[in-house]
């Protein structure tokens, strides 16, 4: 499972949903794999506002890497910028126009953590189990 998905899953049990302990689910004995996925900055900037950052920091820590404590800020990439972007042979989107170096770094980091890191083996559990 991708960290992206993990950040959006919550326990489906109704009584559980409202409890702060039910989110995020925690990884144990996780085995990681990395999978190459086309880089898509537009999707990432669209997803960023929806991410639960503290939960992502927690999940990442459990898997052995560190993220900044606060959610990075990104300008909302627009569809026009994307239209100007080119796609490379491996499907990556090149956003030469409009994205600063710092933002590009942030986007690449998000891409790696959310889209390319997969937990292939291991357990997920709630805090209150």
């Amino acid at each position: 499972m991708k960290l992206l998905t993990a950040n959006f899953i919550s326990c489906a049990v109704k009584a559980c949903k409202s409890s702060s302990l039910s989110f995020p689910l925690h990884f144990k004995d996780a085995e990681l794999a990395s999978k190459s996925v086309p880089y898509n900055p537009l999707l990432l900037s669209n997803l960023l506002p929806r991410l639960d950052w503290p939960a992502l920091v927690t999940s990442s820590k459990e898997l052995g890497f560190t993220l900044p404590d606060t959610k990075p800020e990104l300008p909302r990439l627009s569809a026009t910028a994307a239209a100007a972007a080119t796609t490379t042979s491996d499907g990556d989107m090149n956003m030469d126009s409009g994205v600063g170096e710092e933002d590009e770094k942030t986007l690449r980091m998000l891409h790696k953590v959310l889209m390319e890191t997969e937990v292939v083996e291991g357990k997920m559990s709630k805090n209150n189990l």
Partner: protein, 273 residues
């Protein structure tokens, strides 16, 4: 023709053999692909989006989502471990979850830009093994779907109801969950007819499904207002105020310019010189 839905629970019907057979049939591949493309067209997403594929099976529908332009990212959920195993084998792009949609979708509120379900939700018209009835399962499903979509989100579910009763049961569960709902039928009256339930989540303006499906042939707007209208139709006598109001409403929905309603609507007017 006998329907698998009438005989076995989905996770037993889609066992290892059936899942392979299903996925490798080029006939099925083509049908699922064209229905998914139709669903995408109805969603009208212009930017790369995060999409939930409900009853994703072996990924025949999902792969259309990641292969298109713009390429979307998807998360799939299915109740059949065999189907998901085939999806894993085929190395589909989407992340896969094992779960029963009839127990509710396990996602945070506002997660997805959109959702699709291709040939799956009619399975909700059966009891589950614990004897939970279809009505409860349908409402758990649609309530949780409504919650996990973004405020301007949309969903398209292609499904095969057994009969009108099942179709209506599904539609009214969706409306009860708060969706604006429209039904679209492609190739009606043929054996290839396909039914799409188009759902929109709140947000002013988006609630009105007529905007989503306007200018499309064979669209049946299916919501509470329509029922009220149908009722009015049965009762309103030609020439009465109710009849005029109904006619005006219908014209309005066709996009015609209609005089606004007032207390004078439908009154007899005296001839003036």
């Amino acid at each position: 023709m006998s329907r698998p839905e009438d005989n076995l629970p989905p996770d037993l019907f889609y066992n290892d053999t059936e899942s392979r057979k299903y996925t490798t049939s080029s006939r099925i591949q083509n049908i699922q692909a064209s229905m998914t493309n139709r669903a995408l067209e109805l969603l009208g997403l212009e930017t790369p989006s995060l999409i939930l594929d409900i009853g994703c099976g072996s990924g025949l529908s999902g792969e259309i989502l990641s292969d298109g332009d713009p390429a979307h990212t998807w998360i799939g959920m299915d109740i059949s471990p065999s189907m998901l195993a085939v999806a894993l084998d085929r190395e589909v792009d989407g992340d896969l979850l094992l779960g029963d949609m009839g127990q509710g979708l396990p996602f945070r509120a506002g997660t997805f830009d959109a959702a699709i379900s291709i040939s799956a939700i009619q399975w909700l018209c059966n009891e589950d093994e614990k004897g939970v009835d279809p009505k409860t399962r349908l409402s758990r499903f649609f309530d949780s779907l409504y919650a996990c979509l973004k405020r301007d989100g949309k969903a398209v579910c292609q499904f095969y109801p057994r009969d009108e009763k099942q179709r209506d049961m599904i539609c009214s569960a969706a409306i009860k969950a708060g969706f604006g709902a429209g039904l679209l039928e492609d190739d009606p009256e043929t054996k290839n007819k396909k039914l799409y339930l188009v759902l929109t989540v709140g947000g002013e303006g988006n609630k009105d499904i007529t905007g989503v499906v306007k200018n499309m042939d064979g669209v049946d707007v299916y919501d509470n207002r329509k029922k009220l209208l149908a009722k009015a139709k049965g009762e309103a006598k030609h020439g009465t105020k109710a009849w005029i109001m109904k006619k005006k409403e219908m014209d309005r929905r066709k996009g015609k310019v209609v005089k606004s309603d007032s207390k004078y609507t439908g009154r007899k007017r005296n001839i003036k010189f």
